[in-house]
Structures are given as structure tokens and as C-alpha cells.
Symmetry: C2
Subunit: 462 residues, 2 copies
């Protein structure tokens, strides 16, 4: 419970309408999109309308030693926005202006509460594109996706959020406001705090303004689907595409469990006994897209795809992607709880990882479907379970542990795009060792010595 005086201070800064304390309101901020996580209600939810108000809130919090949890749309998948120690949830949704689209410098300046898709709807008018496209692009905010360094389907060719963040305005833990970076392509002035704060999950400072890089929108695209009776053959096709210097915008894979489930759900015409499906989209200049699509088809044939489809028009394209887009909803309806994991390995290790996941599923008697971004090595093993079944959940946790161990042993990483949050904090020393975790802790303490900004995420007090 917050002291009455603190609440009064918050109301004085923000106005009564931007300070929520009713239990029904607090309840809706007690969780995020992460499955099987304990809910924690905050003491208050505040919605600032300016950077100055954010700074005031942070100063009030600092003075009274109250945790602050910045929050966008709450779509994150690692428990990163759950207010685990109570305190203030700082909803950034009122800060939702697109401040500028600068066509000469190919940048946009936005407030953190802007929805990713809203920005893209605006820049497309100028023939431009903001490439990062997490699955939640229509809901997630720019601030949230920056703080989680979201990825998505276009990572292979276009990179992820961090490759598009050029400048930031940041409120530090002491309430001071700094600006870093800007509209220049080149910038080596001081430590790269723009990069450090991207993906820091709101634990080092609060982002209040963002300059992003835009690119010319590709003028053409073509989608190709390849069906395989063997995961290794699909893996060889992936390698061959890259070795032929084709970098598709999207290169997705679905395993047999996913194919079967999706096919039952949407009837897209996928063979139920296929062991892997590759969904490929090349984009860019018209002539190049034509040339690359032919080459991809040829490679799929060489690598013994049992079926190949090339979309001839937008309708056929949508059909190809329907199965992939419906993968998660299809899987989610099979069992009450869907644990969507995020295991990432070098692209060449995709077949090894898929086979390892299959073995782990068998060993622990679990249903695990695997799909994801084969082109950038980012797989989503999805465990279909029921969080009320304690025995099964124990096995789920064991399986998750083994999946991460396997990913790291294959030269991969704990998280490709979902972040560490609460969910993966316990695994960090597997990847970084104690020395690495200690280095992160020292950095956290350098910028937020009292652990007031999104505490209990990424690193905990020693």
C-alpha cells in the first residue's frame, strides 16, 4: 500500500484521471501475455502525458523508495511487465504521438506509446517501412518493443528492433532526463547508451522518445512454400538458399506436430505426414524478386521437397501464410495452457535443435510443437499443457531447462526475441557465467542503485 501522501503527490503531478487505484483497475495490470505466471497487483497505475511528468513520477518514486514498472500494451512473453514487488505501474499509452516522419533523413520520431502498426501505416504513405514486425505488431507499442528488442518474421534480412533505433530520450532512475544518439547514421560519441537501453526491459531507465531508422519499402515480394518428409532435408535447403546468396525477407519453418495441428484447424492443404514445411518470402526490386524466386524453387527441388507452391498473386500468398499465422492460435486451442518458448541457435543448427526438442518431448511425455524463424535460428518450441496439472507442469519445467541447455550447447542463446524478464533470469549464468551476470549487476547498480526501475527483471540484487 502506498502512503496517502505519495498518492496525493502523484495526483498533483498527473491529475486524478491519470492515477488508478481501484482494485478492478489494478487487477488488469497484474499480469502480461506470459503463460503460467503468478499475478501481482501494483499499488497504483499512472499514465503520464509528457516526459516531464514521467520524470516527476520517477522522482516521487525515488524519494519514497517505490518500484516503478514502465508498461506499454503488456504483450511481452517473459513476465517483464509484471509488478512483482507492487508499487507504481507507469503506463506509457498516453504518450502516443508520431512526432515526425523525416523523409530526407529516413527517420521517424515517436513517443513510446505509439503502436508499431500505427507507425507503419503512417510511413507507408511515403513509400517507407519500419521493418521490425513481432507477431503483436498491431498491439505492441514502440517503447515496449524497443525495451524487449522485439524480432519477428523479417529478422534474417532486415534485422531486429535494435538495428533501427537511432536516438532516445531517457528518464534515468534519479529523474534526470538525457538524450542520446539522433538522426545521424554515424555516431560514436560516448558509450552507446542507445544500444544499451534497447532490450534492457525498462530496468535501466524509462524511454520517453524514440528516433527510428526507416527504409524504402520493397517494391515486390514473392512467397514460396516447400514441404519435406525429413527435417534434415529442410535444413539442407535452408543452407543452400543462403549459400546461393539469397537472403529471404522471411524463412519460416513448422515441424510435424505444428503442421498436423494447423492443418486440422485451417485446412490449408498441408500433407499431414510432412516432417517440415518451409515458408519463404523474397522481397525487394521486381527483377531481383523474380530471379530469386526461380532460384529458390530450384533449390527446394534439388533438396527433395515433396511439394512446392509459388504464390502467383496476393490471394495465393495469403493462403501460404495462413497456416503460419494460425500456428499459435491453432496450437493454443488444443490444451488450456500454451507455453510459448524462444530457443535460438545458429541457423545451421536448426535441424539438430528440432530433433533435440522432439526427443525432449518424448522423454517427458509432453506435446511440444516447434515452429519459428528458421532463417535467423529463432525457434518457438510450444508446449501444450495445463497449468492446473502440477505433475505435468513439473515435467514442463524440466523440458524447458533441457531446451535451453541444448540451445546454448549448440552455440545459441537463451532468448532470441522474448527477453529474460522473470522467466529466464535463473538461466543467465548458463550463458554468461557468474562473471558475466556480475558485470550486468554492476551496470544495473551504476544506473539504478536502488533497484527501483522494473526490479526483479534480468538481474536481481546479489
Amino acid at each position: 500500500m502506498l502512503a496517502r501522501e505519495v498518492l496525493q503527490e502523484l495526483i498533483k503531478v498527473l491529475g486524478e484521471e491519470n492515477v488508478l487505484t481501484e482494485q478492478e483497475d489494478l487487477m488488469t495490470y497484474a499480469y502480461d501475455a506470459t503463460a503460467a505466471m503468478k499475478h501481482h497487483k501494483p499499488d497504483v497505475v499512472v499514465s503520464p502525458n509528457s516526459t516531464e511528468q514521467v520524470a516527476e513520477v520517477v522522482k516521487i518514486a525515488a524519494k519514497n523508495n517505490i518500484p516503478v514498472y514502465p508498461r506499454g500494451s503488456g504483450t511481452n512473453l517473459s513476465g517483464g511487465t509484471i509488478p512483482i514487488s507492487g508499487g507504481i505501474v507507469l503506463s506509457m499509452l498516453n504518450l502516443n504521438k508520431i512526432i515526425e516522419v523525416d523523409q530526407d533523413n529516413l527517420t521517424a520520431t515517436v513517443q513510446p506509446g505509439v503502436i508499431i502498426q500505427t507507425l507503419n501505416n503512417e510511413v507507408v504513405k511515403h513509400g517507407l517501412l519500419y521493418p521490425p514486425d513481432p507477431g503483436t505488431v498491431a498491439t505492441a507499442t514502440m517503447g515496449g518493443s524497443l525495451s524487449e528488442c522485439s524480432g519477428g518474421l523479417r529478422g534474417l534480412k532486415y534485422g531486429v528492433t535494435k538495428h533501427y533505433i537511432m536516438g532516445l530520450q531517457i528518464v534515468l532512475a534519479n529523474g534526470e532526463v538525457i538524450r542520446w544518439g539522433g538522426k545521424t547514421v554515424k555516431n560514436v560519441t560516448g558509450y552507446d547508451l542507445v544500444a544499451l537501453f534497447t532490450g534492457a526491459e525498462g530496468t535501466l531507465g524509462i524511454i520517453t522518445e524514440i528516433i527510428v531508422k526507416l527504409i524504402p519499402a520493397p517494391e515486390a515480394r514473392k512467397s514460396i512454400l516447400g514441404v519435406f518428409d525429413d527435417v534434415d532435408k529442410a535444413g539442407k535447403a535452408i543452407a543452400s538458399i543462403i549459400r546461393n546468396k539469397i537472403i529471404p525477407a522471411t524463412l519460416e519453418i513448422m515441424d510435424n506436430v505444428t503442421i498436423q495441428t494447423v492443418e486440422n484447424f485451417v485446412h490449408a492443404g498441408l500433407p499431414m505426414d510432412a516432417q517440415a514445411v518451409l515458408l519463404i518470402e523474397v522481397d525487394g526490386y521486381r527483377e531481383v524478386v523474380e530471379r530469386e524466386a526461380v532460384l529458390v524453387e530450384q533449390i527446394l527441388k534439388e533438396e527433395q521437397a515433396i511439394e512446392i507452391k509459388i504464390a502467383k498473386n496476393d490471394q495465393e500468398r495469403d493462403l501460404i501464410w495462413l497456416a503460419r499465422r494460425r500456428a499459435l492460435p491453432a496450437l493454443a486451442q488444443k490444451r488450456p495452457t500454451t507455453v510459448l518458448e524462444d530457443a535460438t541457435v545458429p541457423r545451421s543448427k536448426i535441424p539438430d535443435m528440432i530433433k533435440a526438442i522432439r526427443k525432449i518431448a518424448e522423454k517427458h511425455n509432453l506435446q511440444i510443437a516447434t515452429f519459428g524463424h528458421a532463417g535467423d535460428g529463432n525457434l518457438h518450441p510450444t508446449i501444450l499443457t495445463d497449468e492446473r496439472d502440477q505433475d505435468e507442469m513439473k515435467r514442463v519445467h524440466l523440458a524447458v531447462d533441457e531446451i535451453f541447455k541444448t540451445a546454448i550447447s549448440l552455440g545459441g542463446t537463451l532468448s532470441g526475441e522474448h527477453g529474460i524478464g522473470i522467466a529466464k533470469m535463473g538461466y543467465l549464468d548458463w550463458e554468461f557465467g557468474e562473471a558475466g551476470v556480475a558485470a550486468m549487476r554492476r551496470m544495473k547498480e551504476a544506473l539504478d542503485p536502488n533497484y527501483l526501475l522494473n526490479p526483479g527483471k534480468i538481474v536481481r540484487r546479489d
Copy 2:
């Protein structure tokens, strides 16, 4: 002077042949490529042959409170490698192995002493490219260019060093060795230390292994030269190229002072009274290069270029680039001292910046030639002077101050690609404010509390 016991410890770890203490040897490590900088001899120069040896040296230094200066080829331009407080210069040139070129994952793993060009000579055999190309590409090391986050001519289309660094092995100030990042395109595990250490100028840790991203080498390229009688017209041409969604690999500009000097030096056929020359190279797929070259020519005409040349073959291409490549040597032979500055503004502000530099030159009665990377807003105002002339050097310093103030006021930054080092440390609070500099200091102290790693660069003890 180092204590004899410390020297003995270093010799024990590295062998006598890798520990230099002769005055003649130390002298050559007392400076770097930066003009008009005071020389400082180190007490010893050591050349480790492994990460373990680097860690041992750092531990010896930490135990005895001795500064350590990591150094590649010493080509940097901000005094970043000068051992200003004496101590140990850690030459990384023995660590010069290309460990792996991974064609499936499009990565290379290298030691920090590898020369950039050596890496490119190797990867080109596989049709691949490591895009960062500072002017010193044939001399500078991967470790040095990573630590300075070098840029170069291809920044507009391909970005700079930081966009290609995927993984690092780092020796921390306490001698502990950590690994961060890896071969996966996506990685959001923990704070992005890979990004933080890139461009940190060796002040946060010593890099001992680097995983870089490679891209397919472009299959074609075409060079175009446009001559203008007015800087603003050149500026409009730059804007029009970008608005037409053409992103050239290279888009360089030279001002009138540069043109005159270079023309006298190489006789490339540039009109002596031209106010600006644009040098443009488009690259990529053959069909696209053809299409874009035609479009660029058309734009140059529309924006009233008084002369346009399109290279029809490699020989003509070399001629177009001869003037640009010889700009610095041509300028350097005019006066004894060449102060090569690095002022970076948003691309749209290039004409304003060039005109401002011209006014500053007139005001302080100095010769300043300006050329640089117009496409990415990174200009190199080059002051032709004589460091023995104290009165003129005073005016040089005043002019440099005004150049940086102007760059920042135009939304630019202190340094696009040369780094802060010693040279620009005093200007940092103009860009970041005291709160920003303090944040950097806290980060430095979190990772190197005793200021032993390249001390006196970027941030100083308070």
C-alpha cells in the same frame, strides 16, 4: 617506471620476446595517427599470444594498479591509443588469426589483431563481404576498428562497424573472461554488452575474439560524378536521390577548397571553380544498378549539375574515385599539420554545415577544406595548419570548438567515426549534459572502478 618485479611477472607470462622496454621501442608507441597531440611513452609494451595471456596481463596490472592501453595499428584519430599516464601498452597484433569463416551462418570469427582488409581478402573467396571500410582498411585492425566503431565510405547503405558485430570474448578489468552474443541473428539475452563494448575505445574491457556478420558481396556497381556551382544544389540532389528511394553504397561530397587542392595534385579534370562535387556509387543486383544509375543521372540533371560523368568501366571508375581517394594526401601536403576533424549532422543539414564551416574558416583566417560522407552526414572539415605556429593553433582550437557547436546545434553529433578519445572529451557535456556524462562515468566505474583500462579517454574520474 615499472617495478622490476612487475616486469619479471610480465616476462614470465609472455616470454622475453613479447615484452619491450627499450626507449626506441617505447617511443613508437607514444603517439597515434592524431595530429598535434602530446606524445607519452609507456613503461612497457607487451604482445600477448592468447586470451589467457591478456587476462594474466590485466590481472598483473590490476594487482599493481598500472594502466593498460590496448592497441591495434594505432591509426585512430582522437588520441585514443596514446598511453597518457604511462603503464602497459597491450599490443594486440600477435592475435591475428581468422579463426573461421562460416558460410552457413554468414559469420566470421577473428582475433582482434586481424587487419580489416585481410578479413575481406579471405571472405571474398566465398563471395562474401565485411562492409565497414574506414580509410585505413589496409592497416587498421578488427579490434581497433571495433573499439572505435569505425565508419567509412559505405555507411549510408551498409551502416558502420557496430552493425556487424555479433559476438565478443572480453577480458574484464578484473581479469575475468566473458563471452557475449554469438552467431545468432536474434539475441536478447541480458544487457547488450556486445553493443556497449563496440565503440567503447578499450575503456571498459579488452576484446580478444570477435564474431562478425558477413553479407553477400554485391554483384555489380556503378560510379557517377556530379559537379555543382552551388553547395545548395548539391544538397538538393542528395535529398532528391534519397526521396527517390535510392540508397547509394557511397555518396561523397568535396567542397571548393578540396576540389582546388586535389585538382592541382592529381589533375583528374575537375573544374577549379566548382563549389561542390558529388561522387556516387550504387551497387547490388545488376539490373537494379543499371536502373538506379539512370535515375541518379536524371536527378543530377534536374538539380542542375554543370557536369555529369558515369563510369563505363573499371578504369573510368578508378578515375572518378581518384580525386576522392587523394583528397587527404593532397590536402596534407599543403601545410605541415593536417587537423582532420569529424563533424556529423543529419544528411539534410549538409549544405548548412558546409557553409557554416566556410564562415568559421573566414572568421578565424584559416584554410579549411571540407569533404566527406554526404550520404550519412559525416563531414571531415580538414584544417591545414602548422602546429609550430602557436597563434594559428589558438585559432584552430577556436574554430574546432565552433565547428562542434554548429554540428550539435544542427542536430548532429561530436563524432561520426573518429571517436572521443582525448581529443573530444572536453566537449561531451555539450551533447549529453552533465547528467549524461555522469551516467557514462558511473558505467565506466561499474566495469573498471580503478580506471585502469585506457584511462583518461571518453570519461575521466570526477
